[in-house]
């Protein structure tokens, strides 16, 4: 039921613009990989290419060693045994929850009793049993999402694709849903490709993150790796409030200093480095204050234990182990 995914040299142009540029991606069986990037970075396009809803211009895609695209061969989306949770959940509005689940299974060459069994199983797993006869319009956003996932899981796909599944939920709900979703997925041991623009979400769910920019992979590594050692300023800027400060502001000629907000500490702790900036914005975060400092022409965000008034000058330092410089 789980499969490896192998993408090599996947290229796609849309409307004359290059969306994917010879992208390589490999996902091991049972692994959860996120495609993280801003809109227009090509992540949804890549997802749709993997699913077979779109055909790349060039490249190879293999599922479990079998080519689904490439070498002049294309396997239709209907035959790829891939499950996908869409951003709008794509629940068929005229069918009940149970109807949605069973219809999804009816084209899979299963016996009626097998279908019934799987539907029951999925309903239980996703805690949807009391809702089985409702229609999607009668469900809350979170419930609709559970149905979407349950529907996919019931079909026992070899690969699961998620297209920004949490972006339509209230912030408060998001974390709970995320946990629930990933529990289900891990429980089934599925291979997952998860598209999102929210880096904290990507960090939370993935075994590895593929950071995408303009159709290319900026970095493909585990969340820890990306957090500790972002490959470049772009990736650094993408992750958790990190700021990439051009070294020219500190008197150096090139490169960027990666500043993680939580690393900022008083100059007295590490006097060998002093960075000075002017407070241009402040936001209370409960545990601390997040200050935006203007340093020369750049802006940097740091977490500070106490409030500092606007336009005040502030100096801070970074622990030696946390002074990472990157290029471009």
């Amino acid at each position: 039921m789980t499969a490896e995914l192998f993408c090599h040299g996947v290229t796609k142009h849309l409307g004359g613009r290059p969306i994917l540029q010879a992208l390589n991606l490999d996902v091991k069986a049972g692994e959860v990989v996120s495609l993280l990037g801003a809109s227009g970075s090509g992540k949804t396009t890549l997802l749709r290419c993997i699913a077979g809803l779109m055909a790349p211009d060039a490249g190879t895609i293999k599922l479990d060693g079998k080519t689904v695209f490439g070498d002049g061969l294309t396997v239709a989306a209907e035959k790829r045994r891939i499950g996908m949770v869409f951003q709008d959940y794509a629940l068929w509005p005229h069918m009940t929850v149970a109807g949605n689940l069973s219809f999804a299974l009816q084209s899979q060459q299963l016996s009626a009793s097998e279908i019934q069994a799987r539907v029951e199983n999925a309903l239980e797993l996703a805690r949807l049993v009391p809702l089985r006869n409702r229609h999607p319009a009668e469900l809350s956003g979170g419930q609709q999402q559970r149905v979407a996932i349950a529907r996919c899981i019931a079909a026992r796909p070899s690969l699961m694709l998620f297209d920004e599944p949490l972006s339509n939920l209230d912030a408060a709900l998001r974390e709970d849903m995320r946990t629930e979703m990933m529990d289900l997925v891990r429980h089934e041991g599925l291979t997952v490709v998860y598209v999102t623009h929210d880096q904290s979400e990507a960090m939370a769910v993935s075994d590895r993150i593929a950071v995408m920019r303009d159709g290319l992979l900026a970095q493909f590594a585990s969340p820890q790796e990306i957090y500790d050692r972002p490959a470049n300023a772009f990736v650094a800027g993408f992750i958790g409030g990190f700021s990439a400060l051009p070294m020219v502001e500190l008197g150096q000629s090139e490169g960027y200093l990666v500043i993680r907000p939580e690393d900022a500490c008083p100059v007295t702790d590490y006097p060998d480095m002093t960075i000075t900036g002017r407070v241009s914005a402040r936001a209370f975060q409960g545990r601390c204050w997040r200050l935006t400092l203007e340093i020369g022409n750049s802006r940097v965000k740091i977490d500070w234990p106490n409030d500092v008034s606007l336009d005040q000058s502030l100096q801070f330092s970074l622990p030696p182990a946390r002074r990472l410089t990157v290029h471009h």
Binding site: G52, A76, A77, E78, H94, A137
Partner: protein, 594 residues
């Protein structure tokens, strides 16, 4: 390896099949609409191509020039555009207002107000023509009541009256199109704005109206096209003033022997161009694709509470209903129940004679009626099936093709029936390949039905395409990923979701065909003549009474059939367990339930 080969061959065969079926559908469109039209229009440049004694392909641009040299012709063009534009705007506003108040406001008598557009929609235009003449003539019913001040009469049988009658007759189209879009709109975006404390008017101005813009534009263009091609109203109401329109000129050009085909063709070309300009302007102004509004996560919208204002709104709606419906239908009923017009409503003038004759199974009237019923059912079924097939093909192809076909359909609506009629005769009686066909064959009811399908198809297409266009593609995509094949997806997902629109299209076609005149005349079968011809004869011989009785009967049957179909549809839907609230099912808010 064998496995791979099979997969390849399968996907090749699949795409071959798909290409073949789409070609077939485009061919049908061309044969039903494109070719007949071309044959009429080509005579603009080749005036002698169908000359009975000396056919030839000599080119001449004389006919085109006549447009500009004949003042009455370019005046007619101007009038047509004026009228069509004004009616388009008015009817869209009125129709949109109805859609909003029925779907979104908690007005009293909501269900009744919701039915009004449907009944207006089911009342054929020419019936209203007869009715308004009955009402507003100096010797008519309103005069009898002393309700007709002298100036109103002459004002009515001119541009203002014509505009009013058109708008009151066509606003249901806007109600359905805008209502459909509104249904899919939901309140989420509004709610988001309201949380930010934005006033209701601003919400509508900045959020809802822009989102509804595609539907508003479609309403306008569809109504614009309909007014351009109207002949009945224009020839009766406007003729009495100096307000000639293009369709009348076309009729005049083709009403004697020999027919001035080049002039008729030129004028048809002008009508086509007018609509094309409107459509192109629309496309240019709104580059974005139509919003996908029926998605897998739509939620029902909430009502606006109007309080006392609700009563005001409802009363206004009833006034509209009165003028648009009750007054004209009442006039027709009275005329059906009276012997002569000159005696007006004096008691001894009332009689059941007309109704008895109209319902007498052995009468010519009844035979004609049953012929038309049969033709209308068959042609509407074919037309709707064709529209669904074509729309489905187009969904898979691309935005540009869809846009083009939609524009083509809208342009076809602008073609007067008489041009279609002639085009069909030229195609099926004169063209070498077609005239020897035995099915359909000129002179048989088979060709009449084909002609009906040709005039009805654009309407069905517009309704179905607009509806399919609102389905979120993810609904289909997700089914694909579950291995659901194309055919099954159409049957289990697409069709149920557009079913009500298809039903609307069917009823629309049915009514249109039941009362369609010019094609009926030109393609009249040797036996089994349809009803509209008979009714026209009655009207021409001043036998309004029987004509009204027959028309009433037709209307009742058509309305009754529509009601049965609609109820049946709702029953089936409820059997399938759908929530009555079903946003997705595009049920009109006859229920107004929430």
């Amino acid at each position: 390896m064998i496995h791979r080969g099979l997969i390849m061959r399968f996907s090749n065969a699949n795409s071959l099949l798909s290409a073949a079926s789409s070609t077939l559908v485009y061919l049908a469109f061309f044969l039903l609409i494109g070719l007949p039209l071309t044959l009429v229009v080509m005579q603009v440049i080749f005036p002698d191509v169908f000359n009975p004694s000396n056919p030839n392909f000599v080119m001449s641009f004389g006919p085109l020039g006549r447009i500009f040299s004949l003042p009455r012709v370019y005046l007619a063009i101007l009038h047509s555009v004026e009228l069509a534009s004004l009616v388009g705007v008015l009817a869209t506003i009125l129709g949109g207002a109805f859609a909003v108040i029925v779907q979104r406001c908690d007005i009293p008598w909501r269900k009744t107000v919701g039915i009004i557009p449907w009944i207006v929609f089911l009342t054929p235009a020419y019936l209203k023509t007869v009715a308004w003449v009955l009402l507003m003539s100096p010797g008519g019913y309103l005069a009898e009541f002393g309700l007709l001040p002298p100036l109103t009469g002459s004002l009515f049988f001119a541009f203002p009256g014509l505009t009013l009658v058109h708008a009151l007759g066509l606003f249901p189209f806007a109600t359905f199109i805008i209502g459909n879009a509104l249904r899919g709109l939901g309140s989420e975006m509004e709610d988001a704005a309201r949380l930010g404390d934005v006033s209701l008017w601003r919400i509508w101005l900045k959020i809802n109206l822009p989102l509804l813009a595609p539907a508003l534009a479609l309403s306008f263009i569809a109504i614009f096209a309909q007014v351009l091609s109207d002949f009945g109203l224009a020839s009766t109401i406007a003729r009495m003033s100096n307000f000639g329109v293009l369709t009348y000129e076309i009729y005049a050009a083709t009403s004697s022997y020999p027919i001035d085909f080049p002039l008729a063709g030129t004028q048809s070309l002008v009508l086509l161009s007018l609509v094309t300009v409107a459509v192109v302007a629309d496309r240019l102004l709104r580059r974005k694709d139509d919003l996908k509004l029926i998605s897998g996560r739509s939620r029902p919208s909430r009502d606006y509470r109007l309080g006392y204002w609700g009563w005001v709104v409802t009363v206004m709606a009833f006034i509209v209903a009165f003028i648009a419906l009750i007054l004209p239908v009442g006039a027709v009923i009275i005329r059906a129940l009276t012997r002569t017009l000159s005696e007006g409503m004096s008691l001894h003038n009332f009689t059941l004679v007309n109704l008895i004759e109209a319902s007498n199974i052995h009468s010519m009237a009844f035979t004609a009626l049953s012929n038309s019923l049969r033709y209308a059912v068959i042609a509407s079924l074919i037309s709707c099936a064709a529209a669904v097939l074509l729309a489905l093909q187009l969904e898979g192809i691309g935005k540009f093709m869809r846009s083009s076909v939609m524009s083509l359909a809208l342009a076809s609506v602008a073609i007067p029936g008489i041009v279609f009629g002639f085009g069909y005769i030229l195609m099926w009686n004169r063209l070498p390949f077609f005239k020897d066909f035995s099915f359909p064959h000129y002179g048989d009811s088979s060709l009449l039905i084909t002609g009906y399908v040709g005039v009805a198809l654009p309407y069905a297409l517009i309704v179905v395409m607009a509806s399919i266009g609102q389905l979120a593609p993810s609904l289909n995509d997700s089914a694909r990923l579950f291995g659901v094949g194309g055919f099954r997806r159409v049957i289990r997902i697409t069709l149920p979701l557009i079913a009500f629109s298809v039903l609307t299209g069917f009823i629309l076609n049915f009514i249109h065909i039941m009362f369609e005149l010019p094609v009926s005349q030109m393609l009249i079968p040797r036996t089994e003549s349809p009803a509209p011809i008979y009714v026209l004869r009655l009207l021409n011989y001043d036998k309004d009474g029987l004509a009204c009785a027959l028309s009433l009967l037709s209307m009742l049957i058509a309305g009754g059939a529509a009601l049965i179909l609609w109820l049946g549809f709702r029953w089936v839907a409820s059997r399938n367990g759908a929530a009555n609230n079903g946003q997705w099912i595009s049920t009109p808010s006859l229920t107004g339930d929430r």
